[in-house]
Symmetry: C2
Subunit: 130 residues, 2 copies
DNA sequence: ACCGTAGTACGGTGACTATCGTACGAAGCG
DNA sequence: CGCTTCGTACGATAGTCACCGTACTACGGT
């Protein structure tokens, strides 16, 4: 009970989310965040959108609580940045930060994910004609 | 009691380890395997050695049981290949397989790890003079 | 044959995690 | 003001995980 947004007094805790500083981002944390199918899906779609997406723009096959959980893991590991925008919470990849910290990593992971999807659609072969 | 090595009858189960086929290797599994500091250390040293290393060549700060566990995770996720050589168990990175499946991934992760170590030795700045 | 070295198997434990449901808070719209 | 939509908080639960210790197997040298 330090800052009530309802009263409109101050904006100290008014929906401000805590993000790790660049120096706080750990490789293990990022890899762990990306090692979950649900979260990798989020990152994939976020990368494809190349902009901000609200949490509800993702059609994840889990409940809202679980969705919140996954987005928090992504945010706390430094993979995404979240900001409130009205009632919605927008998500954006921290592309620049990740690129500075771990050059090429995000691109490799996304390429690997896309390559794996391609193989799954195929028959499991690394590379074969259609 | 299907194949006793002591009796020298057959070699069916004689220390043959099960490795995932290339088509069985999953990105999430690889990322999960790499998201543990202990296992990332193994991969790092294995990459630096550019050859085979026995399990006991690593001075991991855990017991043998735990070491076995970590090496199994790495093997079952498709990151390393293990073969028995006398009483020792040799470990080698599956560089070629990983490169074919996920081009550039291993390199990016190793580079990221090395970059992070560099920052840790520094003060947490992404890039600054000595 | 014996012993040491390398690693496994098994059983256990505490911590974390992915999931859920329900209840709640915050912003916008009528 | 009420209602709806979006997301959070709080348990709760079942599963996984990293770790240990002890007992065991396998290979090689003496």
């Amino acid at each position: 009970m330090e800052a009530r947004t309802t009263s409109g007094a101050d904006v100290t805790n008014a929906r401000v989310l805590d993000h790790p500083d660049c120096a706080e981002i750990r490789l293990e944390g990022v890899l762990h965040a990306l090692s979950d199918p649900m979260r990798l899906t989020v990152v994939r779609e976020l990368a494809a959108a190349s902009g901000e997406l609200s949490c509800s723009d993702f059609a994840l096959p889990v409940t809202k609580s679980t969705t919140t959980h996954h987005f928090r893991v992504l945010r706390e590991s430094g993979v995404i940045r979240q900001t409130y925008r009205g009632t919605a919470k927008m998500n954006a990849l921290r592309r620049q930060d990740l690129e500075t910290l771990f050059p090429g990593l995000l691109r490799s992971v996304l390429a690997a994910d896309s390559a794996e999807s391609g193989r799954a659609a195929n028959g499991g072969r690394p590379a074969s004609g259609p």
